[in-house]
Amino acid sequence: MLDVSGNSVTVTMPTAITIDGAKKPRFAVMNQLAIMVNSCSRPITIDQYGIARPLTPRPPRLVPSLSGTGSGTLSGTYLVAQTFIIKDADGNVIAESDYGPTSASATITTQQLLVSGLDKSPESSVTGSRLYRTATGGATFFLWAELDGRTQTTYQDDLSDASLALTAAPTLGSPRDFYLIAEWRERLWGVGRANIDHIMFSEPALPYSWPSSNERLVPRLGEDNRGITGLIPRKEALGIGRQNIFYTVTGNDANNFRVVKHAQALGIESQETVQIHRDVAYWLWKDGIYEWGPNGINCISDGKVRSWFSTDTYFNRDVFKNAYARIDPVLNRYQVFLAAAGGTTINRWVEYDINTGTWWGPHKTDDFTPTAAFTAQDGDDVWIPLIGSSGGFLYIEQDTRTDGTSTAISFSVATKFHDGETPDIEKYFGQMSIHSKIQAAGTLTITPKVGGLDASAGSAISHSMTLGRERLRRLGTGRYLQLTFTHATAGQKVELYGYEVPYHELGRR
């Protein structure tokens, strides 16, 4: 864990919960807790003090024994069940396990009710136990007593039925070993590794309570070995994606939550590419980037950069399931990280400008290998987009055009093939003028291609960026002219305004 100043803080894992470094952590946030799944062997919470605890303690394993003892004022037939609880420093219960096995009934007459054989939790995060008891002859449990610590195995008193807690015992349950998690409508929603075609949801505002009945099938059962591949919690609907089908959950509570098919031949390829910005979701599927907003679902890469995602020319599509993305909320950009064609390492990213609907990239860095991307807030509550690396560092943007301390940023822009709207006519392209922002130093390299669409690169031309305008050499003869602008010097800004090239038509050949 890192604090807002970038100092590392060790988070101690709860008892018997381990981290698999090969799996990506997935998070949801509720009640000032970060809930983490997938990379940990059980779901955990991390609070604002950096303390990690199991999302839900394991329930008691022993059947309590119930009997009467001594003399008292209680008479009747009773049942008892035990749970384990976790309290925070203020004494709030922040997690409660499912109920352990219910005791056999016991009938007593003017005695104290004694429960023994209570289980002791092996988890150090557990701070105590709760005991629930029925009223005489009843089946509904009520809170009876609370025990501190993990050492008590017996309890007794003769609390009357009328003095039990006023409300019935809560509905509790254990979560699955989730690999997906999302917060929606005040509940957590998760998909378990052993139950990949079903989605579970917690009780409202109780992230630790997962009754087994809170589960819905996301069809089709057993269709593939990936199951549910992503969750998209928008304001009014929860999107659930499989590889090739997209569902939404409708409803407001457990009585009317329904999984409804939303689209066929559409899904979610990687949960890590799902980003939601101003209630519009963006994510990667097999053939492009999709957007789900008030106007429905659209493929925003179609018509511009579909070839990035539908061919093998630019990116390795086999690695799409490992892709990840982030939103820059200040610049309103969606950035998705992919592997270059022929490679398996995620080392490229492209970005979509939400304001202008334009695409940029592919970008790369020669300073580190990116491995993750997300957004956080610094100590002044300013949003900071972050990129994680294989070296254990997080990277943030800086105005200086250098990656790391000295690595140049390789800038390369390729224009269209200019043809003067007469692609069949040979032309003589004259002296090019370049217009750019005046910089303190630096040279921009221009490589022309003059000829047909298969023209070779000509000799490079240098433009001094200390000049706002520079007239350069004649470019030559051909039907087309294409220019590539490059720059790769650390610490130098580039801002290119445009260019002019006069030409004369020579005729057909």
């Binding site: 604090d3 952590p25 511009k304 970008h363 491995t371 940023i409 445009g498 006069p502 030409y503």
Partner: protein, 459 residues
């Protein structure tokens, strides 16, 4: 024919790889590696992207596979306390009128990171008079100690503020490290009379997500007191149960077995009298409407009262002290889940004066208790319980103490504090990181020091 290529809309349409080479527009690019339009909304030119620099100076030693941002509290907790005042402030002064601490000018002070050295005087956060933190039990002037007069909830300190006795209602204030303000006032006790203000707050704890405190409402016979629950989210104040029986002043508080336990001091003949055994009551807030008597100290523990209680290892422990007597001594008692109280640690009997245990704290998985040796100017001892065995970990033999050491545990240290009381002109502050080796860090603290006013906040 001739012509001119004028391309000043270069890149305005971003990248397009879905058109053939002859169908692209001038403002479209076939690639834009590390390039973008001016990101600040200007219709500027084509720029190279911003650089990427390390956020953390030290690598985490492994690949970062994912993350999220949550607002974290600064994990370096800071110890804060209340210090200052030329004259100690008393809650009880026997036959004399109760002092109002008007001469005091206490202020919050702040120490450095809990894990680092405590420095003096540290930052004075608030300069205005605030606190009233000292009380006394018994007639002997050596028997001063402080109740727990502040409690931390959600990184805020809720503490007993200063008020003018008999002229205004006692007050609970809240301090978050920046702002210090009045939170709630304690109303009069109808069993005393509408024209009589409650006297003071005796003890404050945080438990069950709430704040609980005891009050002294009438300081002459028959004396009366109450217990309140304060919801720190809303400021709603709820009296728990009825006024305690006459002369049974509710004092120490603890949460155990899902219930609030309250100890009482018997003061039939005087506020500091101790003239009968104290008691322990319990209640389930929100469920029970009345307190249930849990135990009355008897026999050997005559004239005892529990001045501190704490839940440890699933059981409730009580620190008892005693008025000097031929048969009385102070002990540590423990209550099991069946409700039986037994002696856990026998205090040494000393007929010369007061003896007993005063303060309890849990640190490093162990229970600690402070014991004041009898005598006007005498030592104090610290004991440790590991769940099965008690051991003495520290004896302070200097001639000084008229006040009992108050124990306070934080994230990394346990403190034993003796404040300025009467003849004690210099506070004593001991600190330990392991509960065994204690270091005197008194010189680091401002003087005079008001005990009972310590809290650890994440600032």
């Amino acid at each position: 024919m001739g012509g001119q290529i004028n391309n000043y809309s270069l890149g305005r349409a971003g990248v397009n790889v879905d058109k053939s080479a002859v169908h692209l527009n001038d403002d479209e690019l076939t690639s834009a590696q590390n390039a973008t339009r001016d990101p600040h909304g200007h219709d500027g030119g084509l720029v190279n992207r911003k650089g990427l620099t390390k956020f953390n100076a030290t690598g985490l030693g492994a690949s970062i596979n994912g993350g999220t941002g949550i607002n974290l509290v600064n994990r370096n907790s800071t110890l804060i306390g209340l210090a200052g005042g030329a004259v100690e402030t008393l809650l009880f002064s026997g036959a004399t009128a109760l002092g109002n601490g008007a001469a005091d000018t206490p202020a919050w002070f702040q120490t450095t990171n809990q894990g680092g050295t405590v420095t003096q005087p540290a930052t004075t956060l608030i300069a205005n008079p605030r606190g009233r933190f000292v009380t006394r039990m018994g007639t002997n002037t050596e028997n001063y100690f402080a109740g727990r007069l502040c409690a931390v909830w959600n990184n805020r300190v809720y503490y007993v503020g200063q008020h003018t006795e008999d002229s205004e209602e006692p007050v609970i204030r809240v301090f978050d490290g920046v702002d210090d303000y009045e939170f709630v006032r304690i109303p009069y006790n109808p069993d005393v009379g509408a024209s009589t203000f409650a006297n003071c707050v005796s003890n404050v704890i945080t438990a069950n997500g709430k704040i609980y405190f005891t009050t002294l409402d009438k300081d002459d016979s028959p004396m009366k007191g109450r217990v309140f629950q304060l919801d720190p989210k809303t400021g709603v104040l709820t009296p728990l149960g009825a006024t305690f029986p006459d002369d049974q002043l509710p004092y120490a508080l603890a949460w155990a077995y899902g219930q609030l336990f309250v100890s009482t001091v018997t003061c039939a003949t005087g506020i500091h009298a101790y003239d009968a055994a104290g008691r322990v009551y319990r209640i389930r807030p929100g469920i029970d409407s009345a307190f249930t008597l849990d135990t009355t100290w008897t026999d050997e523990t005559q004239s005892h009262c529990a001045v501190d209680m704490i839940s440890y290892g699933g059981r409730l422990y009580a620190a008892l002290n005693a008025e000097a007597s031929a048969v009385a001594d102070g002990d540590i008692y423990v209550r099991d889940s069946a409700g039986a109280w037994t002696e856990s640690l026998d205090g040494s009997f000393n007929a010369a004066g007061y003896a007993g245990f005063w303060s309890l704290a849990i640190f490093g998985g162990n229970l600690y208790a402070s014991q004041k040796t009898a005598g006007v100017s005498s030592a104090f001892t610290l004991h440790k319980f590991d769940g099965s065995t008690w051991s003495t970990v520290y004896t302070h033999g200097s001639t000084f103490a008229t006040a009992a050491p108050y124990l306070f545990a934080t994230q990394g240290y346990i403190y034993a504090v003796v404040p300025n009381i009467f003849s004690v002109s210099t506070p004593v502050v001991l600190r330990s990181a392991d509960g065994t080796t204690w270091t005197d860090i008194s010189a680091n603290f401002p003087s005079p020091l008001i005990c009972g006013g310590f809290a650890a906040l994440y600032l």
